[in-house]
Symmetry: C2
Subunit: 222 residues, 2 copies
């Protein structure tokens, strides 16, 4: 059996869950309190971060980009990075946009203040940090809208790693009720299409103890 060490609201873990779902690969989730830096977990990934995929007995993979590329090569049906060089470059550029820029400007500050501080008993959330990060969301939703006005999915005709990365980050924030959907119809339409995919279903069923999602979180027609 394949095991994925993950944390519920980690966007990088969510990416791998969706990719495994798209490729119809069975796996079991292992909940990892990565901040406790458990010795057995550090042996799997010395960086101490989720996700970690135990693909088989002697093959442990870490870093979501490395895992994603591995899975796309080992299980190419469906191919999620594309097949043509320029398309792949655009997919990887957009994955980096969400995994680096969006994460630094939006996902990380909001998760740290609202979620990690609670789990790690690090004190009260700083409201000014949350406010600044929520302001940053607008620019990114505008960028998604701009792309979707021109393309079927974020990169082009096909659903790709870029859609999965973007939706994974957004789903974490949506769980916390932090996406201003009413102002972004085009981005919302795109997200409804992502949410409707069977690979996304398990994310929408996540319920985190002590953190309730808003009622629209799992609703496909919100």
């Amino acid at each position: 059996m394949r095991y994925l060490h993950h944390f519920w609201l980690c966007p990088f873990s969510r990416k791998i869950r969706v990719i495994l779902g798209e490729k119809k690969l069975d796996f079991e989730l292992v909940f990892e309190k990565f901040w406790e830096r458990r010795e057995g977990f550090l042996k799997l990934n010395p960086a101490g971060q989720v996700p970690v995929l135990i693909e088989e007995k002697n093959l442990t993979l870490s870093d979501s980009n490395s895992i994603a590329e591995y899975l796309d090569e080992a299980y190419p049906d469906p191919k999620l990075i594309g097949s043509e060089a320029n398309y792949k470059a655009e997919a990887r550029r957009l994955v980096a946009w969400f995994d680096n820029k969006f994460y630094d400007e939006v996902t990380f500050p909001i998760l740290e203040e609202k979620v990690f501080k609670r789990f790690m008993s690090m004190g009260q959330p700083q409201t000014e940090v949350i406010r600044a990060a929520k302001k940053n969301i607008n620019y990114h939703l505008e960028y998604i809208s701009w792309l979707i006005d021109r393309r079927n999915w974020l990169v082009g005709d096909e659903f790709s790693f870029a859609d999965i990365a973007a939706a994974s980050h957004i789903s974490c924030l949506d769980y916390l009720g932090d996406i201003p959907w009413n102002d972004y119809d085009t981005a919302k339409t795109w997200y409804v299409r992502v949410k409707s995919r069977p690979s996304f279903r398990s994310l929408l069923n996540d319920r985190i103890l002590g953190l309730n999602a808003p009622s629209h979180y799992a609703n496909l027609d919100f």
Copy 2:
């Protein structure tokens, strides 16, 4: 002609310079004060970051990982990501280690305090931030030593993207005199081998106005 928009002490720009050098591809450097967010540059890369590679008239690439993967596929001689799936996964894991973890813990805080604040007139460097980042270097030099005790290069037998990523970050810090080489013989031996490659030569010839490198910076036998 191929153009690379870069900043001298940007480790991600340095990665692409070395990759182009390894593949013996001609290019011209365009110095980009990315923090000024020049309109023409934002049209090339809306993320506003270097490096940006203008590969040909209608093909502009950004994000160092996307550029690196593109170049390795388009110009596979020599292949720098490897060819076997597990090897590639390890190469990508280590690239992420240096481009994310090392960058967050070491490169970024030191560059921000010592270099960006000066260029952007953002006030005095905070010595406690520099001190904490310099302390973090040790753990990473130990990890490089641990790997090099077991492998010829960081991933395995071949020189790869992982060596290029690691050495690009380290070369920026070495320019600032911040690597405690005397305590890390094994890591130093590895870095001397990287420095000796012709692809690395142009980085060692960099001289940044108002910032002098220590005498050992360009010395191959330091």
